[in-house]
């Protein structure tokens, strides 16, 4: 009951915004190609569901693959680099600089590497987008264990592996999940941007682009709605996993 009350303001805002949007578009006679009515978008969303959802699923698989590969490699790299302190401090500026590179600019190159039509090129874009934040944040997390805790473990003659398992990994987990949440959003965006430079015809990004090109804006918006819903689903899955894994962390309800 209390949770429903907490969500009431958000619900009110939703109803208000959608209502205003619908009302203004009707009242001001805004043209379809500028901004379709929410009711039109929802009806297209329903009537074209047999094209929209398979396309969404296709792109979602690309995003999911990229997310898994990129995050997995990020965690692996952070673990290796975190093991060797001097290597970590030497490489950190490089990773931070690499993190500031607009990876999107490299999307067409991944297309050229992995055949622009195949899902692999989109997985590569999504994967690289996910890799850097996960790697940098996990490394920060692994290195943020309190020296006193580590010294205490050492004084009990705990092995390095034991220290890693019982101190470093638990401290790193909140950092890791913060990065995974960022990565989950990036993965979907990466897949769709990758599709902008060519992709299979039944992919969501291609569908949205083609629809916008021929001024079928309600269909484009319905596609955007599908992309957002899938993005939210992936984000929600990470949040749920965090709740299960990181029980002790007091408040990690950040974005």
């Amino acid at each position: 009951m209390k949770r429903i009350v907490e969500w009431l303001p958000a619900l009110a805002v939703f109803v208000l915004v959608v209502g205003l949007w619908e009302g203004l578009v009707r009242a001001l006679h805004v043209q379809q190609f500028l901004l379709p009515k929410p009711s039109t978008i929802v009806s297209v969303f329903w009537s074209d569901r047999h094209t929209l959802w398979p396309a969404g699923w296709y792109t979602f698989k690309e995003a999911l693959g990229g997310f898994a590969i990129g995050s997995g490699l990020g965690i692996l790299a952070a673990t290796i680099v975190g093991r060797f302190r001097t290597l970590g401090t030497a490489l950190m500026p490089i990773f931070i600089a690499a993190n500031a590179v607009p990876i999107i600019a490299f999307a067409p190159i991944f297309g050229a590497w992995f055949n622009p039509i195949s899902p692999r090129s989109k997985m590569a874009v999504a994967g690289v987008l996910c890799f850097l934040p996960v790697m940098v944040n996990t490394l920060r997390g692994l290195n943020s264990a309190k020296p006193r805790q580590i010294e205490l473990m050492r004084s009990y003659a705990a092995s390095e592996l034991e220290i890693w398992r019982r101190v470093r990994v638990p401290t790193a987990l909140p950092f890791l999940f913060t990065a995974l949440k960022v990565a989950s959003v990036l993965a979907m965006i990466g897949a769709i941007v990758g599709e902008y430079f060519g992709g299979s015809l039944n992919a969501l990004g291609v569908l949205i682009n083609n629809a916008a090109d021929v001024f079928q804006f309600p269909l484009a918006w319905a596609g955007i709605l599908v992309a957002s819903l899938l993005g939210i689903a992936l984000y929600g899955a990470v949040v749920a996993a965090e709740r299960v894994v990181v029980r002790w962390a007091p408040d990690t309800r950040d974005a």
Binding site: P9, L91, V101, P102, I189, A212, I224
Partner: protein
């Protein structure tokens, strides 16, 4: 001074190592004929020297050298990104200040601020341009719409992190100010804002990069030819013939992103004495 030299040395060494790894990978995969994960040849991985030579040559006949063209395009994209960054940072900050004063507004709007980031902005960009462009005054035509897209990507990290920073003000200090009947305004400026600065800057570092991404993404579907996004789109068409031109453009784009990031870090060093490293 010595520390600076050492750091510069490490960076230079790292660049040399990266170039070496690139060429080594190229050589091994090309001579062994391996095709996993992708076939290596002079098109898929042009030599580093080919890419750098491309800077000095004109991309098209009777044009100035590529580096000349690219620098102009970079200035254009940098303008879009900088304006988008500035506007997005201000909007993000104001939004956080408003939200910190009302639990009700936080509950009402925060979920949508998070959701707004899952919207694939590239897909919306053409429509944003159709809306925004006709309403812009002449000097802003074209690039103004792209700046709006950069703004959209920039405000989010700033809002979320500043809100966290404003809330992170010391509880005892808050109570003390209340016992002195301090106004909300002075609590905000004397306590909350200073305590939020480290959080704000860690968001600005992220936003600096994101604003460049937004500018490049915005240029792609808008068909704007004056910036790096347009150049990437064009050179992509000729990738199979002259891959080094796309690579050269991407190298410049990478430097632009890093430059924005470094500028924010320098501003942070000047303004905030000690920033916690761990605010993501």
């Amino acid at each position: 001074m010595l520390a600076h030299l050492r750091r510069a040395g490490i960076v230079a060494l790292a660049v040399v190592v990266l170039v070496g790894l690139w060429e080594l990978y190229h050589w091994i995969w090309a001579t062994a004929g391996w095709t996993w994960p992708f076939a290596v040849n002079d098109t898929s991985m042009p030599h580093v020297w080919t890419i750098f030579k491309a800077f000095g040559q004109p991309a098209q006949v009777n044009q100035p050298s590529l580096i000349n063209v690219l620098l102009h395009k970079t200035a254009f994209t940098a303008k879009e990104a900088a304006v988008g960054f500035a506007v997005g940072a201000v909007i993000g900050f104001v939004l956080a200040v408003v939200l910190v004063h009302s639990r009700l507004l936080q509950r009402g709007f925060l979920p949508y601020i998070v959701v707004s980031q899952t919207v694939p902005i590239l897909a919306i960009a053409p429509m944003v341009v159709v809306w925004v462009n006709p309403k812009l005054p002449a000097p802003l035509q074209g690039w103004g719409a792209v700046a709006v897209i950069a703004t959209y990507l920039t405000f989010f990290p700033v809002t979320i992190n500043t809100l966290r920073g404003l809330q992170a003000a010391d509880q005892r200090a808050l109570e003390l100010m209340r016992t002195y009947a301090a106004s909300r305004w002075s609590v905000l400026w004397k306590l909350r804002v200073p305590s939020s600065l480290p959080y704000l800057f860690s968001a600005l570092r992220l936003s600096a990069t994101v604003s460049v991404v937004g500018a490049i993404i915005g240029e792609l579907p808008t068909g704007l030819q004056n910036g790096l996004g347009g150049a990437i789109f064009n050179f992509n068409e000729y990738y199979s013939i002259e891959p080094q031109e796309l690579w050269a453009t991407d190298v410049i784009a990478a430097f632009l992103g890093i430059a924005f990031f470094v500028l924010v870090v320098m501003a942070e060093k000047a303004l905030v004495r000690r920033a916690p490293e761990n605010v993501a």
